[in-house]
Symmetry: C2
Subunit: 535 residues, 2 copies
């Protein structure tokens, strides 16, 4: 999903000059407060070569009292540092209570380098990730604030910057062989980063992927994110949460459950989407969730993509035939398959699913339409109902909406407390990891349309008699929260896309294009795991 991030964001010089001093002043004030509260902070900068991490750190430090902050530049370990367990040198660099430590590269550097250069076995890689999670958890349990920035640019941009640096004798020395190696193996490194992030992204030490094409934008966003995070840690909240109407117990979980229990069973079948039964007053505003910078993934989706009728028919026939054969291979090779469909209301999930199901043996698949949990499901952990619905070996489970409801509708509508949906990213990653380790093939689709297209489809549904049932009042209400959903979706795509369980964004403005892309993706993925099929 890293390749989908909007890297074109930028800030104008004038805005930058105006906002920067204000943010730096604010951070200075926070530095004093943290010192008094004896809260240690760790700010980690990782990222592609040529993203000028040192510059960003400079901007961060400018106004700070140097007595409260320390910068650690992490290079590969020295000989004497290799005399100790690998995290030893990082433990020594943890800040004192009240101090701030800024890491220019960190404990991630070496692990990532060793992994991409294939000097770590998979088991070692996993163990190192576990070590990191344990390290960060121990610090966070002790009261530390941790923030991990990944400064992100495209392969092209990196290549351009490397060339520009080399063009001048003043800067050519900065470029190393390793930088070139990284640029040539951009894809491989990118995959490793995605896997690393999914394994080490936690509510207490989140990863923030930062578009770093424009330095001004990156600098301001770093400052804003850091300030937001520290404010939250100190209990300063700009927007009140949870809403006062909805009391929470100290663990935060009775809230959702009470609400769900209060739901009238008779009314349950009326609502299409269970989140919508919550009083709208309790919904979270856009401002509350905008704690992390939006990666801008959806905004960049090219919605002009189309497919002509004729081409569509030809491709459809061919892909469906392949899928038919692959369905048999799924059965033969006893592999479970999980297909997840998420997307906007009226984005065409149903149609896309139908193009899959109509071509495979009906005994080999189940479609699960996920709406309000009822009965048993409502009385269990939110993942329980998906564990129950897992496909057995050799079969295909298709989820029309899924466990991702936790970080979409439940987040937006306040069904899940902030703690709950924030921890859900890690829980979902663990869940899918277990599926994959068992041998499952997992594809996840986000069907994307514009708000205008949605409106057009809603109106069509309203006017065409046999489509009316598809449209509810809640759909209209949902539309009003488009921005909040967009932010939540962006974050979800970024935090839960892994090389072995990737998200595919489907440009669904044109239904034909969408259906073909879904089919093509499924076929490609099945072929990669089960072997190519010939028509």
């Amino acid at each position: 999903m890293l390749d989908q991030i909007d890297l074109n964001r930028s800030t104008k010089k004038r805005d930058y000059k105006e906002r920067l001093p204000e943010l730096q002043q604010r951070l200075y004030a926070l530095e004093q407060t943290l010192l008094e509260a004896r809260i240690p902070t760790l700010i980690i900068f990782e990222g592609w070569a040529t993203t000028a991490k040192a510059n960003a750190i400079g901007v961060l430090m400018r106004r700070l009292d140097p007595r409260g902050v320390r910068v650690h530049s992490i290079t590969p370990p020295r000989t004497y540092e290799m005399q100790y367990p690998w995290l030893h040198r990082f433990w020594l660099k943890t800040p004192s209570y009240g101090q701030m430590s800024i890491f220019d590269r960190s404990w991630y550097r070496q692990v990532l380098a060793q992994r991409t250069h294939k000097r770590l076995t998979t088991a070692e890689w996993h163990r190192h990730c576990e070590d990191i999670v344990s390290f960060e958890r121990q610090l966070a349990s002790d009261g530390a604030v941790l923030l991990k920035f990944w400064l992100h640019i495209s392969q092209q941009k990196q290549r351009y910057r490397l060339r520009r640096l080399e063009a001048s004798r003043l800067t050519a020395w900065q470029v190393t062989d390793d930088d070139h190696w990284q640029n040539r193996h951009y894809r491989r490194v990118s995959d490793a980063i995605e896997d690393l992030m999914a394994r080490t992204d936690t509510p207490y030490a989140p990863w923030i992927v930062l578009p770093a094409t424009n330095k001004r934008y990156a600098h301001l966003t770093i400052l804003e994110t850091l300030i937001n995070r520290l404010d939250a840690r100190l209990g300063v909240q700009t927007t009140p949460y949870p809403p006062s109407e909805a009391p929470l117990d100290s663990n935060g979980f009775s809230f959702r459950r009470e609400l769900m229990a209060a739901q009238d069973d008779a009314a349950a079948h009326r609502v299409k989407n269970y989140a919508l039964t919550l009083p709208s007053s309790a919904s979270i505003t856009d401002a509350t969730v905008a704690q992390l910078p939006s990666p801008g993934i959806l905004r960049r989706v090219d919605l002009t993509r189309k497919l002509e009728d004729k081409k569509y028919e030809r491709k459809l026939v061919r892909l469906q035939a392949k899928l038919h054969l692959l369905g048999y291979q799924v059965y033969q090779q006893k592999r479970p398959v999980v297909l997840v469909f998420e997307g906007w209301d009226a984005a065409g999930k149903g149609g896309a699913i139908q193009r899959i199901t109509e071509t495979i043996d009906p005994r080999s698949y189940t479609v699960h339409s996920i709406s309000a949990p009822t009965g048993e499901d409502r009385a269990h952990h939110y993942l329980y109902r998906f564990w129950r619905r897992l496909p057995e070996r050799g079969t295909i489970a298709i989820f029309d909406r899924s466990w991702y409801g936790r970080v979409l509708v439940e987040r937006i509508e306040g069904f899940a407390h902030t703690n709950e949906w924030q921890r859900a990213y890690a829980e979902i990653n663990e869940f899918e990891r277990q599926l994959i380790e068992f041998g499952a093939i997992v594809c996840k689709f986000w069907l994307h349309i514009s708000p205008e297209e949605q409106l057009r489809r809603f109106e069509e549904r309203q006017n065409v008699p046999y489509k009316t049932w598809k449209l509810t009042e809640e759909d209209w209400r949902n539309r009003e929260k488009w921005d909040a959903y967009e932010q939540a979706t962006d974050e979800m795509l970024l935090r839960t896309s892994t090389p072995s369980a990737p998200w595919t964004i489907i440009e669904a403005e044109d239904k034909r294009f969408a259906r073909i892309k879904v089919l093509r993706t499924v076929v490609k993925r099945l072929e990669a795991d089960l072997g190519k099929v010939k028509l």
Copy 2:
């Protein structure tokens, strides 16, 4: 450490009959409350064959409303269950909110069996343990109470029971080949269990090792432990904690830190043990910490063991000569060594350490005397100062008191909040695991004496002029908390002893015996890892 548990505990029939109905009644009342509070409970019974887990479950269930509780008997997975990821069948058995699930064997059964039968690689074993931790954490985060009982008996007792069962035609069918296999490989299984427990023992899903020789004792203890735990979850606390004089912030960590910051630096050098600077009013009473049944390890130590002068001299010379050679091997083979000494005041830690240090090259070891943290150490995570003091490859670090202060003195004296010392067991296990994976050799000693012997030694120190400095007022005060320390030590020994970082209890009533046993243990352990040395 499992082999050190007091398995002779028993309850008299009369007491049993008196207490049982009362506890069952109490549990019945709790069942109703849990239902109303919608808190799910998972009670897991694992243990040696012939410990009659079904009986224990029967006693637990007797008075419960059957609508609120379900028993799951876990057998090896059926063919259809193997069509899904391995935890699938356990997810399906998780209780609804407010329900109680009792597991007769559980997700641990198969992992343990596969490991002891060597059908799991080390990497797979670790991954399964991670899966379990993730599973239990997800349930606990969702509000569930988890309790894991290990019913424990000795190898002899098990063999006796197997024979007795086989002697009668009515019961012979109960004995399986696997039971005999387990009895024959008692040591191997025991090691696997210790490793498993260290990896899966968490504050939210603790292991409780239960002496199960006497069924009445086991039954009452199960009921008591369960009731205590549920009371705590429901916020019913029999003894108030934290003490009202010591306010805690919501995260519990400002407490310790404030106290430490408040410590007068000038006074710091006066106190031998930093915990003692806390006002005694804030100390925890015996009743508060007695939440888990005491494993009674220390009570069973044979303090009559002695060594004659002559024998002592002969053994000392021989062991020290070996250790001298092994010290050189440590350097040659570039292995780091960690020796931890814990024990009662005046138990003879200093003397034992001296017998080691006087025989090895002074350049190859460092002795760290751990008392009140000062300066930097006081301003960091409690493990920071031990990370700083790790031995480099090829050297030996000897800790006279150690990170275990967290679960001993800091626990007893209230320096660490309950959350903090409870999570410390897992943190310490993670810490030592990282040392061992790096290649370190770890030995941990608890030097044990009787309170009477301690008194004798204290008085000697008081009366012999050149020993007076060794005795402080705090030592006397410490004596008064003997029972609480004993309970904390027992729990520490049980929760942090692993096959690769085991605790050795030293019978230290006789100093000569103690010193020889320490030396012999170190020599044996070094020889196992570095190869035998010849004199």
